[in-house]
C-alpha cells in the first residue's frame, strides 16, 4: 500500500504546486518517441518538468526513480500493458495518473479507470486540453481557510481533516488518493446537496462541458471500497437514484 495519503507523491515535495515552487514533475510513459518528444516540448513550455519512459516494464522503476507529481500513461505499451502499469503504480502511490488512450472503446477506458487512473485523454488530443487536464489533477481544492469553514468535517462515521488531507475512522487513518479525497471532500462540504455526475465532473475533474460520467461511477466505486464498511450498502457516499450522489449523515458517537 502506498503511504502518501493525499497530495502525497513519494517525492515528499508536497508544496510543488504552489506558485513559485519547483516545476511539477511529469512522467511520460509512451513508446512513441516522436509523441514523447513533442509532449516534452509542450510540457516544458507549460512549466512542467517531463521525464520519459518508453517501456511498460520499465515504467515502475522510472516512477520510483523520478518521483513524478503526475504520470501520463499510454494504454498500449511494449513490455507491459498500460493498465497493468497503472495498477503497479497505484499499489504504491496515490500520484495522479492520466491515461493517454487511442481507443474510445468502453472496455479499455473502464479497465484503465478501474486500474486506478484518475482521468483519461483520447488521442488525438490538443495540447491545451492535455495541459488543462494535468493542471486540474495537480490543483488542490480550496483549503478550509479559503472556504471559510471548519478544518474538520464529518461524513458518516468518518472524520475529514481538510487541510491535513486525511480521513480517519475511529482514529485510524484511511489512505485515499488525492482524487478520491477531493471527491469525498466535495460531497462532505455540502452534505445537504445531491450532486449530479455532471456537477461532480466539473468540481472534481474540471470538465466544463458534459464528459464521460463513467469517470464518476468508477471512482465512486473505488472510493466506496476504501471508506465504506460494506461497499454493497454504502452509508457514506449514498446513491440518489436518477440524480447522483450525496454524503451520508454524520454519525455522532
Amino acid at each position: 500500500m502506498f503511504e502518501g495519503v493525499a497530495g502525497g507523491s513519494t517525492a515528499g515535495s508536497t508544496d510543488q504546486n504552489e506558485p513559485g515552487s519547483a516545476r511539477p514533475r511529469v512522467l511520460v510513459v509512451d513508446d512513441d518517441a516522436a509523441l514523447a518528444e513533442m509532449l516534452s516540448i509542450v510540457l516544458r513550455n507549460e512549466g512542467f518538468e517531463p521525464f520519459w519512459c518508453a517501456y511498460g516494464d520499465k515504467a515502475l522503476a522510472s516512477f520510483r526513480e523520478n518521483h513524478p507529481d503526475l504520470v501520463l500513461l499510454d494504454v498500449m505499451l511494449p513490455g507491459r500493458e498500460g493498465v497493468d502499469v497503472c495498477r503497479d503504480i497505484r499499489a504504491e502511490s496515490g500520484v495522479p495518473i492520466v491515461m493517454l488512450t487511442a481507443k474510445t472503446d468502453t472496455v479499455d477506458v473502464v479497465a484503465g479507470l478501474e486500474a486506478g487512473a484518475d482521468d483519461y485523454v483520447s488521442k488525438p488530443f490538443k495540447a491545451k486540453e492535455l495541459v488543462a487536464r494535468i493542471r486540474t489533477r495537480l490543483r488542490r481544492l480550496p483549503t478550509a481557510v479559503e472556504e471559510g469553514e471548519a478544518d474538520t468535517l464529518s461524513v458518516g462515521d468518518l472524520t475529514i481533516s481538510v487541510d491535513g488531507h486525511s480521513v480517519k475512522r475511529d482514529g485510524t487513518q484511511i489512505a485515499l488518493t488525492p482524487l478520491e479525497f477531493d471527491l469525498l471532500l466535495a460531497l462532505a462540504r455540502r452534505p445537504w446537496q445531491v450532486f449530479s455526475r455532471e456537477v461532480l465532473l466539473e468540481q472534481v475533474w474540471g470538465y466544463r462541458h458534459a464528459a464521460d460520467t463513467r469517470l464518476v461511477n468508477v471512482h465512486v466505486q473505488r472510493l466506496r471500497s476504501k471508506i465504506e464498511r460494506d461497499p454493497e450498502h454504502p452509508e457514506i457516499v449514498v446513491t440518489v437514484r436518477g440524480i447522483g450522489y450525496k454524503a451520508g449523515e454524520p454519525v455522532r458517537a
Partner: protein, 581 residues
C-alpha cells in the same frame, strides 16, 4: 372427439416450444375464435385428427347401416319363412278339422270357429308365437290379445277376394290389453266350411323377439362404432403428434439457429425419415456454424484492424497536431508565408481528424461493432442542445433557427447518436439555407417520435433524395465546399438511425429547400409503422405542379414499403432501413 379436442387444447395452451408459444400468442392476439380457419390451417395434427375422425365416422355409419340392413333382412326372412310354414300348417289343420266336422246335425258354426281359434291359440302355447283371428260373417273371433286392427286392409281385401293361397305380409300388431303395438307378420287364408261358406282366418305373428334381438345388435354396432371412431381418432392424433413433434423440434432448432444459438442440435433417434431430417438439420447447422464462425472471425479481424488503425493513426496525428499547435501559437514570429502555412496546417488537421473519426465510425458500423445504449430522453432537450451548440454557425450564416414541438417527444434513444444525427442535419441545413430560416419540427405519437429539419435554401433534385446518404456524395461536384464536412455525415446519420430501428428520410426540391426527417420508435426495439411528421414539408407553397400532387397522398400510404413508389414520389419514397449502405 376427445382426441381431436385434446389436440386443440394442447395447441392452445402452448407446447414446450417457445416458437409455438409465440405463434399462439400471435393467434391469441388475433383471436383464434375469430379465425378458426387460421388455427385449422396452422395445426397439422388438428387437421389430420379431424380428417380421420370425420372419415371414420362416415365409414362406420355406412358399414353399420349395411350390417343392420343385412341382419334385419336375414332375421325377417327367416321369421317370414317359419311363420309361413307354421301358418300353412295351421290353416291346413284347421281346414282338415272343418272338413271333418259332421255337418249333419245342428252345428253351431260360431262355436266351432271359436273352438278352432282357441285350439290354435292353445297350440301356439304361452310363447304367443302367433295369435289367431277368424273373421266370420261380420263377427270377429280372436284368440289372444291381438285386435283385428292388426290385419292390414290390403290383406283382408285379398283374402276376401277369394284367394285360396296363404298370404303373408308385414304388419303392426295392436293389442287390446294396453301393450304397445309391435311389428309383426300377418298371414291370412280362407277356410271353407262345407255348406256354410267361407271364413277368413288370420294368424298374427308378433316380432317381439326379433325386434329385441335387432335392438341388441344395433346397440352393439353403434357402441362398437363409437369406440372404433374414438380409437381411430386417438391413434391419428398420436401418429400426427409423432410426425409433427420432430418437425416442430426441427422448426425450433432452426429458430434457435436463426437466433444465434449455433450450438443447438436436434436429437437423432433411429434411422427413419425423421432421423434423416434431424441429421440433415444438424449438418446444416454445423455448416452454418462453421461459416458464421469464419465470418465472425473475419469480422473480429476487421474490428481488430480498425482498432489498430485507430491507434496507429491517432498517435502520429497527436504528435502532428501538437506540433502544429506550437507552430500556430508562434506564427506571429514567422514571415507571412510560414504564418499562413501554420494556419492552414492547423485547420486542415482539424478536418483530417474529423475525417479520421468519421471513417473509424463507419468502419465500426461495417464491422457490426456499433451498439446502441438507449436511455429514455426527451428529444426536445437534445434538439435544444444541438441548436444551442450550432448557434455560432447559425450566426455566421445569419440564419434564424426555430424549434416547433408538439406532443410527447420522449423516446428511448442513444443520446450520443441522436445528437450526432441532429448535429449533422442542422449543419447541413444551416450551410444550405442561404440565410433563410431553418425550422426544427418535433412531434410524437403513440409509437414514434420524429424530428424534421426544414430549410428553405437551394434544395436538391428529387432524384437525389437517396443519394444524399451515400458516402462522400456531393450534390454538385463543381460547387465549392464551404463548411468542409467530411462527406460521411449523412451516411453515419443513416447508420445511427438504422441502429435505432428508425428512419432517416430526405425531401428536396430545387428552390424550395429541403427537409430531413428522423423518426425513431418510442421504445427501443420498437418497429416503426408511420411517422408523426410527413416526409414532405407542410409549408410548401401551393404551386400547381404535378410533382407536389402525388406527394401528399402517397406519403402516408407507403411508409414501409413499395420500391415501385420511388419513381412516382421521385425521391421522397426513399426506403428507410434499406439504405444504400
Amino acid at each position: 372427439m376427445p382426441a381431436g379436442l385434446g389436440s386443440v387444447g394442447e395447441t392452445l395452451q402452448g407446447g414446450p416450444g417457445t416458437q409455438l408459444a409465440g405463434r399462439l400468442r400471435a393467434v391469441a392476439r388475433r383471436g383464434w375464435w375469430r379465425s378458426p380457419l387460421g388455427l385449422w390451417s396452422r395445426s397439422l395434427p388438428l387437421r389430420v385428427t379431424s380428417t380421420v375422425f370425420l372419415a371414420s365416422v362416415v365409414v362406420l355409419v355406412l358399414g353399420g347401416l349395411l350390417l343392420m340392413q343385412q341382419a334385419t333382412s336375414g332375421v325377417l326372412n327367416g321369421k317370414r319363412e317359419s311363420a309361413a310354414n307354421e301358418a300353412r300348417q295351421a290353416v291346413n289343420t284347421a281346414q282338415a278339422q272343418l272338413n271333418a266336422t259332421d255337418l249333419s246335425g245342428e252345428v253351431n258354426v260360431d262355436k266351432l270357429l271359436y273352438d278352432l281359434a282357441y285350439g290354435f291359440a292353445g297350440r301356439s302355447g304361452g310363447s304367443e308365437q302367433y295369435q289367431v283371428i277368424i273373421l266370420a260373417r261380420g263377427q270377429t273371433i280372436t284368440a289372444g290379445s291381438a285386435t283385428s286392427d292388426s290385419i292390414p286392409t290390403a290383406l283382408r281385401a285379398q283374402v276376401d277376394a277369394g284367394s285360396s293361397d296363404l298370404l303373408i305380409t308385414p304388419t303392426q300388431v295392436f293389442y287390446d290389453d294396453g301393450r304397445p303395438p309391435v311389428a309383426g307378420l300377418a298371414a291370412g287364408s280362407g277356410l271353407t266350411l262345407p255348406g256354410t261358406g267361407r271364413y277368413a282366418i288370420y294368424l298374427v305373428f308378433p316380432l317381439t323377439q326379433e325386434v329385441s334381438t335387432l335392438a341388441v345388435l344395433q346397440t352393439a354396432v353403434v357402441s362398437t362404432g363409437a369406440v372404433l371412431v374414438l380409437m381411430l381418432t386417438l391413434i391419428a392424433a398420436l401418429v400426427a403428434r409423432q410426425v409433427v413433434t420432430p418437425v416442430r423440434e426441427a422448426a425450433r432448432a432452426a429458430e434457435n439457429l436463426a437466433s444465434g444459438n449455433l450450438h443447438d442440435r436436434m436429437r437423432v433417434r433411429g434411422q427413419d425419415d425423421v432421423a434423416l431430417l434431424a441429421t440433415s438439420m444438424n449438418n446444416m447447422a454445423a455448416e452454418m456454424e462453421k461459416q458464421i464462425t469464419t465470418l465472425s472471425e473475419l469480422s473480429q479481424v476487421q474490428q481488430r484492424f480498425v482498432s489498430d488503425v485507430s491507434h496507429e493513426l491517432r498517435t502520429p496525428l497527436t504528435t502532428v497536431r501538437m506540433a502544429a499547435e506550437v507552430l500556430h501559437d508562434a506564427r506571429d514570429d514567422f514571415d507571412p508565408i510560414a504564418a499562413r502555412s501554420a494556419e492552414l496546417l492547423q485547420t486542415e488537421l482539424d478536418r483530417f481528424e474529423l475525417l479520421l473519426n468519421d471513417l473509424l465510425e463507419i468502419s465500426r458500423f461495417d464491422a457490426g461493432a456499433a451498439t446502441l445504449t438507449p436511455v429514455r430522453t426527451d428529444l426536445r432537450s437534445i434538439v435544444e442542445r444541438v441548436v444551442d451548440a450550432q448557434e455560432p454557425l447559425a450566426r455566421a450564416y445569419a440564419v434564424r433557427v426555430g424549434i416547433h414541438a408538439e406532443g410527447d417527444t420522449t423516446a428511448e434513444v442513444d443520446v450520443r447518436r441522436i445528437e450526432r444525427i441532429l448535429r449533422n442535419l442542422m449543419t447541413n441545413a444551416i450551410e444550405h439555407s442561404e440565410g433563410r430560416p431553418v425550422d426544427v419540427l418535433l412531434a410524437g405519437d403513440e409509437e414514434a417520435v420524429a424530428v424534421a429539419v426544414r430549410d428553405h435554401g437551394v434544395g436538391f433534385e428529387a432524384s437525389q433524395a437517396k443519394q444524399v446518404f451515400l458516402r462522400f456524395w456531393r450534390a454538385d461536384p463543381a460547387r465549392a465546399r464551404t463548411v468542409g464536412g467530411t462527406g460521411l455525415g449523412l451516411a453515419i446519420s443513416m447508420e445511427d438511425a438504422n441502429l435505432h430501428g428508425g428512419w432517416l428520410t430526405a425531401w428536396g426540391r430545387p428552390g424550395l429547400g429541403a427537409q430531413f426527417r428522423l423518426t425513431v420508435p418510442r421504445q427501443a426495439g420498437g418497429v416503426l409503422q408511420t411517422s408523426p411528421l410527413p416526409m414532405a414539408p407542410r409549408d410548401l407553397p401551393l404551386v400547381p405542379v404535378p410533382v407536389l400532387e402525388d406527394e401528399e397522398p402517397v406519403e402516408d400510404q407507403v411508409p414501409l414499403d413499395g420500391p415501385s413508389s420511388v419513381g412516382a414520389l421521385a425521391g421522397t419514397g426513399w426506403q428507410p432501413g434499406r439504405g444504400p449502405s
